[in-house]
């Protein structure tokens, strides 16, 4: 196996804030320093990129000293929170921008798919756009011709191929755009969360195609996603970025686990992470499991999972309910409410419980998001609040007749 991509100490600095008259003097200062062969005076201040805390300078390092090797034929998932530097890394790799320092060495042709349908012209027909988009992505005309039928077939738009794409439904548009990209002949394919578009069936088709590209055709794939299930399914290796730095790198499975472990809190919910339409009326404070105040507690399959949600209500409401979503590997297993019907809630502290029966969950890592609904609040039919990925827990492996190791899937069917 040889190395397809070798990144050496790549860093990328961005100037934040506005470019205006004030920045010109600084530009001149910087230019003057460079002219005398000195270091850029505004790049020296090394700060990590934490978007929630206010830094002292206008320069942020979106990426800092990233080193990695990617083997030929590997499918690598790049994960991390919003603003961790994933997109910046992809932009550098796809040559849209250059690193501030460091270098990347690449073997083979790179095609990047940071967005579907880049360069589609609404007035042109599907046929014309296939050629234009293909050429923008780096294909030669004869290559596009060779794949033309396959592209149209993959997108499922035979009937509309000579219709301007502005008359396409948004789904057709996206399908056609992905189809072009999926038929690129490059050795390295870079894909940024483009699968978030399109319906479930098409997403599956895309994932299948990407799996094909990496496993059967032996091409290198770099894949950025927030969908941990897709990363686990598609990728062999994983890279975890945190505040612009490479935090972890191993197999995809281990990297996803590390991400869930490190990025998900210990159950304390900061008010900043709660979004929704009535955050001023109610807030969540803490999630805990079986009374354990620890980050990522482990629970035996034979135990019930008693999820306690604590919070404060600032204004009484007539019809409120707490809900909870449980995820495993990026797949939502269920969303459940604490009661069947809404209830009234008074101002003050509250505690709600949602209990998952013993032997229902199979061993593995689970991720919790919580929310609340309020019907009839201020004339809007449904108000909501939501806090994403606030807590995670483990179901450990433990043999028992009720927890058959040979069973498979996400949950055990309770035998009644």
């Amino acid at each position: 196996m040889s190395i397809a991509i070798k990144a050496e100490n790549i860093s990328k600095a961005y100037q934040i804030g506005e470019f205006s008259t004030g920045t010109l003097t600084r530009d001149i200062e910087r230019w003057w320093a460079l002219l005398r062969g000195k270091e850029d005076p505004f790049l020296r201040i090394g700060e990590t990129n934490d978007r929630s805390s206010k830094g002292g300078s206008d320069i942020v390092w979106s990426l800092k000293d990233i080193n990695f090797d990617i083997q030929q034929g590997d499918a690598v998932g790049i994960i991390g929170r919003n603003g961790a530097g994933k997109s910046t890394l992809l932009k550098i790799l796809s040559r849209v921008t250059t690193p501030t320092t460091g270098s990347v060495k690449v073997k083979g042709r790179i095609a990047s798919l940071l967005e579907v349908g880049t360069g589609f012209h609404p007035e042109l027909t599907g046929r014309e756009n296939i050629f234009l988009n293909g050429a923008i992505l780096g294909m030669r005309k004869h290559e596009i011709k060779k794949h033309f039928d396959a592209i149209v077939d993959f997108a499922g738009v035979e009937r509309y191929v000579d219709t301007p794409v502005k008359r396409y439904s948004s789904g057709m548009y996206v399908r056609l755009a992905f189809a072009v990209a999926a038929h690129l002949e490059s050795e390295i394919l870079i894909v940024d969360e483009v699968l978030a578009v399109g319906d479930a069936e098409f997403q599956k088709k895309c994932l299948g195609k990407m799996g094909d590209v990496s496993q059967n055709e032996g091409r290198t794939v770099l894949f950025v996603s927030h969908n941990m299930g897709a990363v686990n399914q598609l990728c062999k290796k994983g890279i975890l970025l945190k505040n612009g730095q490479l935090a972890f790198s191993d197999t995809a499975e281990k990297t996803v686990r590390e991400y869930l472990r490190s990025e998900v809190g210990n159950g304390m919910i900061s008010s900043k992470s709660i979004v929704g339409t009535f955050t001023d009326k109610i807030t969540f404070k803490r999630v805990s499991i079986n009374g354990i105040l620890d980050s990522q507690p482990s629970v035996k399959p034979s135990e019930k999972v008693d999820i306690k949600i604590e919070g404060t209500c600032f204004k009484s409401m007539d019809a409120f309910r707490v809900n909870l979503s449980l995820y495993k590997d990026g797949i939502r297993i269920f969303t459940a409410h604490d009661t069947h019907s809404p209830y009234s809630i008074e101002t003050g502290e509250f505690q709600k419980h949602i209990i998952i029966p013993e032997y229902l969950l199979r061993p593995g890592e689970y991720l919790i998001s919580i929310g609340g609904h309020c019907a009839g609040y201020e004339n809007s039919s449904m108000d909501w609040i939501f806090a994403s990925e606030v807590f995670s827990f483990n179901i450990i492996e433990e043999w028992s007749p009720n927890n058959d190791f040979n069973g498979a899937g996400l949950i055990n069917l309770p035998l009644i």
Partner: protein
């Protein structure tokens, strides 16, 4: 680990912060030639999509402008047209000027116009301005047919038109106007990615530049003390030579022409280098 490293020394591509200023990646441009043609086709096809007359509209603009110029500058202002029939005189100036100013305007905003594409996918950025020039060249070619028709018409009317050997310079003039527009455009586009101040200047500057070019008047009609300044404009020599070659009216100064050639080439090369320097990181600042 070490043994794999030693075998992998022949990289296809190295992404670095800074590149040689004079490395223009022309090989890259050549490998993307299909894209160039498709972009030209896109410009042309999207221009007349959903119109009834299609490319005929390309004739309408110069015809109406010529009529207006003839009435205003020739009939009202009585500016000399050096014995060339006034419509013919203004048509030459108009189509040549449109060609140049379109090349300049479009290539000067190339980074802003294409920021969304440039921000998402890599291809040699030079492809875009080149495609602009070729699109405009085709448009000019079509409008030039109009000029030829009008010339034949006036010749039959008995107007003394004397095309001469300098007509052979025509392709050179067209090329020079293209690279002059492209060069200036690229310089401006590079300068406006971070600070947009120049775009305001471009808005009316190009319009005013027309008056500093012998478009609506022949150079010979300009007062002597302004003539030197007008000659400093590299376009003056090109447009005068263009008219002279086809009509035999006016004068051909070798010096003025050579000055235009030199200025165009210098500006073009400068534009290439500046553009090349900016294209790498403009995404961060545009």
């Amino acid at each position: 680990m070490n043994n794999t490293l030693t075998t992998d020394t022949n990289w296809d591509l190295e992404i670095k912060p800074h590149d040689n200023l004079f490395n223009l990646h022309l090989k890259d441009v050549w490998s993307y030639r299909d894209l160039l043609l498709l972009l030209v086709r896109r410009d042309f096809v999207s221009f007349y999509k959903q119109t009834i007359f299609g490319p005929v509209w390309l004739f309408v603009q110069p015809i109406f402008t010529t009529i207006t110029f003839t009435i205003v500058f020739s009939k009202l202002a009585k500016i000399s047209t050096e014995d060339i029939p006034a419509p013919l005189f203004y048509l030459t100036g108009n189509i040549a000027w449109n060609y140049f100013s379109d090349c300049l305007n479009k290539s000067s905003s190339v980074f802003r116009d294409n920021a969304s594409i440039f921000g998402k996918v890599y291809f040699p950025r030079l492809i875009m301005p080149i495609s602009i020039v070729i699109s405009n060249l085709i448009r000019f070619g079509i409008q030039f047919l109009l000029f030829l028709c009008m010339m034949v018409y006036f010749a039959f009317q008995g107007h003394p038109l004397h095309p001469n050997l300098y007509v052979l310079l025509f392709p050179v003039i067209i090329l020079l106007m293209a690279i002059l527009g492209l060069g200036l455009g690229m310089i401006i586009s590079a300068m406006t990615t971070k600070y947009r101040d120049l775009t305001f200047l471009m808005g009316f500057g190009v319009q005013l530049l027309m008056y500093a070019t012998p478009i609506i008047y022949p150079l010979s009609a300009a007062p002597a003390r302004y003539r030197a300044y007008i000659s400093l404009n590299p376009l003056s020599g090109l447009i005068e030579t263009f008219r002279y070659g086809f009509t035999g009216k006016g004068e051909f100064f070798v010096g003025a022409f050579m000055y235009s050639v030199a200025a165009s080439i210098v500006l073009f090369l400068l534009g290439l280098i500046v553009f090349n320097r900016v294209e790498k990181t403009f995404v961060d600042t545009v």
